[in-house]
Symmetry: C5
């Protein structure tokens, strides 16, 4: 299961009927956004556990539910990893996946 943060509900009027009335939530997984079916009633800002693979279907309610990512639990307390910047005098990198390359001095 992955640990993600709930961002906001997703509105999709034109969608397959199999989703029924369940809520879809936009979640932040590291540097990318994904969409998860909400099985626990999460709110924006919550840190949650999402299950993927074929288990996401049963977790969403039935074996034929078309989910590949389902929110299955709200974490009581979660401290995300701090940014990777180790020196307080250096500017913090915007993203951990974008290596900061200082310009060369002459």
């Amino acid at each position: 299961m992955i640990i993600v943060k709930v961002i906001k509900p997703l509105v999709s009027t034109n969608r397959i009927p199999d989703f029924e009335h369940k809520h879809l939530q936009v979640v932040q997984d590291g540097s990318s956004k994904k969409v998860a079916v909400d099985a626990v009633g999460a709110k924006p800002g919550d840190w949650v556990i999402c299950v993927g693979s074929s288990a996401a279907r049963e977790a969403a309610g039935s074996k034929s539910y078309p989910s590949d990512l389902t929110i299955v639990g709200i974490i009581d307390h979660w401290e995300p990893d701090p940014p990777k910047a180790s020196s307080s005098s250096a500017p913090a990198p915007v993203s951990a996946s974008a290596p900061a390359t200082p310009p060369a001095k002459s």
Copy 2:
């Protein structure tokens, strides 16, 4: 589920008969292109939700349909994340995954 942008239909004359008459769409997932079975009638330029894993099969119509990525909904409004460049005077990087390293000056 992932959030991707529809690029264009894919033409594959020589393909297995199991795909039947469903449309295949080329979609942009971050910096890579993938192919998804269209279950909602999406058009190029639409931001859509795609389901993967084993749920992609049922979402495409039946448990034996050979899809691992199916478009299941069109998002009403979607604002993609802005490029990671934070300074307006600096040139925007072409791709967020290709860190631009300016040549050193002397």
Copy 3:
């Protein structure tokens, strides 16, 4: 589904009998090589669609076939993305995933 290029057949004399007589093809997926079961008769150089996940089994012929990547269609025309180098006077990077950092001049 992913879009890959067929490189060459793979020879594996010592393999499980479940593969039967189907051909295995080495395919290029971005910067990595994978092996796919060929269900359409692709040739080296062809750009093809590969299905993964559990759908790869049925696409290869039966629910118990041990494939997790099956070639399901040959693309009629495909133009791969050009290299990310934007300046024609600069040497093209060997790989899009290996950011080229020109040595600084003085």
Copy 4:
């Protein structure tokens, strides 16, 4: 299966009832944290094998258990790969995925 290190148990009071009383463990997989269902009684600091995909369900006890990552074995002895820094006089990089680019000298 992947090789990960157990960090600590995860507390999630509001979770779907399908998890029953099994323990959830936070595990370190390379540079990211994940959550796994514990089927062997691992302790923080243990190096363990986790199974994913649909096999994680049966490994957790039944075909309908909603897991996509299950701890299935404790490794007797495991030496993780050393950091990639090759020179003892150079400062070790904080993360192997964040290439350190020394500032140019003039």
Copy 5:
């Protein structure tokens, strides 16, 4: 299927009984190590094909076997891609995923 190199057997005394007596092998997949169930009798140093996803279960012997990565064939001859360094006078990078950025000269 992925192409990996067998490193050594993995010893895990405390593991779920479902693995039975099958051998587990540590394999090198690019820059990361994984664990695969051996269905063909591979030896350290062999280049092998591994199947993942749900097909890994049947490939390991039965639909309920808890594997998500199973060695299904030994490749007769395999030449791994050479390191990405293109100049013979430049030192070879330790890892293809860690782009080497030479310090600027003046």
